[in-house]
């Protein structure tokens, strides 16, 4: 065997090993830890015995994954009391723009209905989502109330008040769709990072 064949065989062996190491986490599943619920400036919201009181329109948390986002779904179990919110949504960051969160609706107030604590379970595909270098993904809650304006940050005029009682994240393997897979490959080739 000459030197070139040896080099090619080594490269082939290394490629197979790297592909195997990459593919093993695709089958990982289980609950993942979450960071603190904080506002867009990184200041955590106050915690009480009944949960976290959110007093701004946008509330952010990190979900710490142990694998790449490829071929993964996150199942979120969210228990909350909508408080004075007329609409509550949640989203996971999609690209390097800081507010690129496709929203999934959690709650919409109907007239005369009193806000009660409720649990919603939603599933969000992760393949096309933005993953940070520490493998975390960004989760954002969006609240709207009758007094809220179009501004992202209303500062002291923000009248938002709702309560996050519990939040659990579970990662499950899934088959990505073709556009999701394209997005994933594009994000790697473009070296997409959170700005």
């Amino acid at each position: 065997m000459n030197a070139w064949s040896r080099a090619l065989l080594t490269l082939l062996g290394a490629s197979i090993l790297v592909a195997t190491i990459f593919c093993i986490p695709l089958f990982y599943r289980g609950s993942r830890s979450l960071g603190a619920i904080e506002n867009i400036h990184g200041i955590p919201f106050p915690k009480t015995d009944e949960g976290t009181v959110v007093t701004e329109k946008l509330a952010h948390a990190d979900i710490f994954l142990a694998e790449p986002v490829l071929a993964k779904n996150v199942r979120l179990a969210i228990t909350f009391n909508p408080g004075n919110s007329t609409k509550l949504s949640v989203g996971i960051r999609e690209n390097d723009f800081w507010l690129s969160y496709p929203k999934v609706e959690l709650y919409e107030a109907t007239s005369n209905a009193q806000p009660v604590t409720q649990t919603k379970i939603i599933s969000i595909p992760l393949t096309d989502k933005l993953q940070d270098k520490d493998r975390s993904i960004d989760l954002m809650f969006f609240a709207e109330n009758s007094a809220s304006s179009a501004a992202v940050d209303e500062g002291i005029h923000d009248q938002t008040s709702w309560q996050l009682v519990s939040l659990e994240a579970e990662v499950l393997p899934t088959l990505p769709t073709k556009p999701e897979f394209k997005d994933y490959v594009k994000s790697i080739l473009k070296k997409e990072r959170p700005l």
Binding site: L9, A14, F22, P68, I188, L189
Partner: protein, 60 residues
């Protein structure tokens, strides 16, 4: 025979480490931070093993 296998494993692990670091340079989330370190440790063990068998072969 074992010595040749360990030497081949050593080179495969070294090239794998380079490939993983290249992939991480493109997108750090593709592989964990620990993966290249673990591969290097195993490569070093394979290198020591091949040295051991080299001495063993030369004695016999």
């Amino acid at each position: 025979m074992i010595r040749h296998l360990l030497t081949a494993l050593f080179w495969i692990l070294i090239v794998s480490t380079l490939l993983i670091n290249f992939a991480r340079w493109f997108h750090p989330a593709t592989f964990s931070e620990q993966t290249p370190v673990v591969l290097l440790i195993v490569a070093f063990a394979a290198y020591l093993g091949s040295l051991f068998f080299q001495k063993y072969d030369s004695k016999n």
